[in-house]
Symmetry: C2
Subunit: 122 residues, 2 copies
DNA sequence: CGGTATCCGGCAGGATACTG
DNA sequence: CAGTATCCTGCCGGATACCG
């Protein structure tokens, strides 16, 4: 069953359903797009590796966001070794489908806030 | 000067600058992508018109989000008539540049949560 | 290494009532 | 119509310390 995650509000489940609202509900957190961005660029990572790739994210935030992304089937977590204990976070198919969205974010951010192009004006 | 809005964290202003992080900082709120979506689809709107197009957004949330979008030069507000009092919200160039991003959101949401395609799995 | 537990502050957002 | 004022809630995320 394609039940939408809890993050998607009730009123967006029926007739008034809206793709942008759903996507925003799943992805509009401070860190989630950045996590997906790094997984797209660097492929599967361990927890600390991902934390370093992002920088400035607290362990708690990373942990929580990964759990939600996992629940929403955007990210997959697998234990790849017990001794030493190693884990790997990777994008699912659904997660990889976010690539155009993340690319669009990269491009918009670069175009409008690139340090070299201050003349774009704020 | 192309100073980044306050919403963009300090640590993202210098060397560690990241386009996705900046874009997420400006746009990753529950309602912002939806507001831009509606303005793209319907063109310039008044306040209540916009509120109706979105549905389920409180006046306060709409007001606050519009103010931030204005401060970030994504949306432009103009008074188009005094008596009766009428206002118009429209996308700026920078806001219109968000179209590919919003389109990507629409497509991802439709693909993965369309009621008709429950078999896509949750 | 890969997290969890706890405490904590802030702010986003809902509801409602009110204003010019 | 186009908001503002106020109150209130919950969650989000930072910091720190600790665990297997």
């Amino acid at each position: 069953m394609n039940e939408r995650p809890n993050r998607v509000p009730e009123w967006c489940q029926g007739e008034e359903w809206c793709p942008v609202t759903v996507t925003a509900a799943l992805l509009s957190r401070k860190w989630k797009p950045v996590i997906v961005d790094r997984l797209l660029k660097s492929g599967p990572c361990g927890f600390s590796e991902l934390q370093n790739l992002i920088g400035n994210i607290s362990g708690k935030a990373l942990s929580n966001n990964l759990k939600e992304l996992e629940a929403d089937r955007i990210v997959n977590r697998s234990v790849i070794s017990e001794r030493p204990y190693r884990v790997e976070y990777a994008l699912t198919d659904r997660g990889r489908d976010l690539e155009p969205l993340i690319v669009a974010m990269r491009e918009w951010g670069s175009k409008h806030f690139e340090p070299d192009s201050k003349e774009n004006g704020q």
